[in-house]
Symmetry: C4
Subunit: 217 residues, 4 copies
């Protein structure tokens, strides 16, 4: 093959720009659809303040899912900012992650509905919700670990410090979710607040973008 010919060829890699923009769109839509699952039943209008108050499980589930997706978006953004290009595995893990994030409004709705029902329904809904959160957490961590193990996918100037920081940012919530899902077997309502706590901590744990400014040394 002559030198310099065929400089444009099919590659087994994707540029990350559009993949990230598409992912951002899915995160933004999933986070905004959550509200559609909240409503006051017809009977709630007789005493509407009570009717509004009775929906607290829906508000709890809304806030939890909103903050979970928000924190996941920040983590996703943190990963993709450091990616130079995506290979097939990154692309597939990302589609799996988006499929789970888009699915979250369904268990969110279930939790909101089940807490009005029997304890066994509560338990099933809260565990199911937790398992989806756990799956999201596992796939995010797997995505980062795969990338961290394939440094040629990363921007060349990503430092070991950044790799460690992102590993710490994406990993420990897996353990927390396992603990809280187990807790849901005994006390589902307490576990529901546990998910909210993990989500809040997840947002607070986020660290900023990488900066290119010279060291202050």
């Amino acid at each position: 093959m002559p030198d310099g010919l065929e400089v444009h060829r099919m590659s087994d890699r994707w540029k990350t720009g559009r993949l990230e923009a598409f992912s951002d769109g899915v995160f933004a839509i999933a986070i905004t659809l959550l509200v559609l699952e909240i409503s006051v039943p017809e009977s709630g209008f007789e005493n509407l303040w009570k009717g509004i108050g009775d929906q607290w499980p829906s508000y709890l589930a809304y806030a939890t899912s909103f903050l979970t997706i928000g924190g996941m978006w920040l983590a996703h953004h943190g990963i993709f900012r450091r990616l130079a290009s995506a290979d097939s595995m990154v692309m597939r893990l990302n589609i799996l992650l988006l499929m789970l994030v888009s699915f979250l409004p369904f268990p969110t709705k279930l939790v909101g509905e089940a807490i009005h029902k029997t304890t066994s329904a509560e338990r099933a809904a809260v565990i199911f919700y937790g398992l989806v959160l756990l799956a999201i957490s596992v796939v995010t961590s797997a995505l980062w670990r795969y990338v961290a193990g394939h440094r040629d996918l990363l921007e060349p100037d990503v430092t070991d410090e950044e790799v460690r920081a992102l590993t710490i940012m994406t990993t420990p919530s897996i353990g927390f979710y396992v603990v809280v899902v187990a807790l849901a077997l005994i006390a589902p309502q307490v576990a529901a607040f546990g998910y909210l706590l993990i989500a809040v901590v997840g947002v607070f744990r986020q660290r900023g973008d990488r900066t290119a400014s010279p060291p202050r040394a």
Copy 2:
């Protein structure tokens, strides 16, 4: 630490570009979802013109929420255009703001439904709606005040004139919402039109982008 090394490091700040794009997505989706809450009940098809007309509270709530979110988007845009970077507090206030804006379709639907019901349901729905609008207004103002108090977050060439103008743009609606929510205790339907008036004024009060053109002097 040697000079010139580790120029890329984890920072406690975010670039505003993607944060703003993500926020824009949430605003655009929330504003477009509002219509899903409007429908004519089965019985309304017997005399459909009347059935369409009977939905006026839904149209009022739709227009109010649409213009409120539209005005908030313009204010949000006005703030982020002047931000050089976002720190953790900006990021958290922004997530809280988006969570409230995304929540708005729920009280919007309640107002549309309650005005067909009893006066006490009307009052509760209109006050609840007003409290969410008030909360959005308070968080927007808090976001701007925080940024205005941390001038290192702003683009270096933002003038005192601009800071004052944005303070005026984001603050006074808090007072208006307090007044109209109080009015809702006595006359909920009048208050519902009051929210629309605040939203219309809010859109009309918006001022344009900053220009970089030389002074006409």
Copy 3:
């Protein structure tokens, strides 16, 4: 005021980039939400092919609204590509236009539902739908006419030829909608197909972007 100071000041104009991106988001969401209004009632599952076929008014309304919004998006894009900046009036007309486009899923749903009902319900739904389409058309035309009358808002190199072409692209559908709405008084189902025809013609009438290529002379 000294020369060269305060080069950044509050302006009464907006850059069009973000306004256009936000508008694109609203168009894309409104066009995609239309499908949510289509469903087969429980009874339709006994003979599902018939149940699917019985929804033809919903498919007609879906295709009409989809193509109408698609054509409007192209026209909107044609206008904003030529805008150098937006003033307050452009911004307000644009918000009004987006409010009407976002509203379209509601009359679309009504048409789909009413064609299963009485002739008077059909007539009301089809006229109401046509009035919303007419309003969208009037606001789009008003937006372009305002801009065409304020040439300082346009990019300096927009030619008279382009201004005329866009006037022709945005204006005549107003007349068509008036005629078809009048027709709906007599024959609502025929009028429903008339809206589809206008939408198809509207998409076909679109002309491309402006090119900056040298004349082929």
Copy 4:
């Protein structure tokens, strides 16, 4: 006509940037709306684990439609990355493609509902769903074949190798859909898994972006 004048003129072509961004928005929204069709009926809360499990046809339809749209988005992206500009036919085929993709949540919901019903309902829903998937596949292939036959629409450096690779990427699923739709006449549930298989293979078959890096020779 004097040389050098009227360099900006109405063209019969569109730049692809905004067309692609608008299309991405529609793909992202359609993919995220799919979850809204999933819910557990009131009776399912008595034994919620069973209620959640009973929804498996909805999960199957969700995953299938999600992966189908995801794969279509990647194929669409592959086509538009190579387009230098879009003419009227490209624009119309693209609108038709988006109209079909946006429509997909409706047959997806039907499949989820019908598998709880009679075999004849199952068969109708699965075939109808397959026909929409087939139509999406045919329009995507037609779009690429049209572009491949009008090489002046492509970026000048697109190689024959790339054209062949995209033809292979966009074409064969047509045949697979025909086979699986025929299979649905006999065994609708098997066919439903067949669609999932085509979607998974479709995602796995995707190849990366074109690279501009020099050949490794």
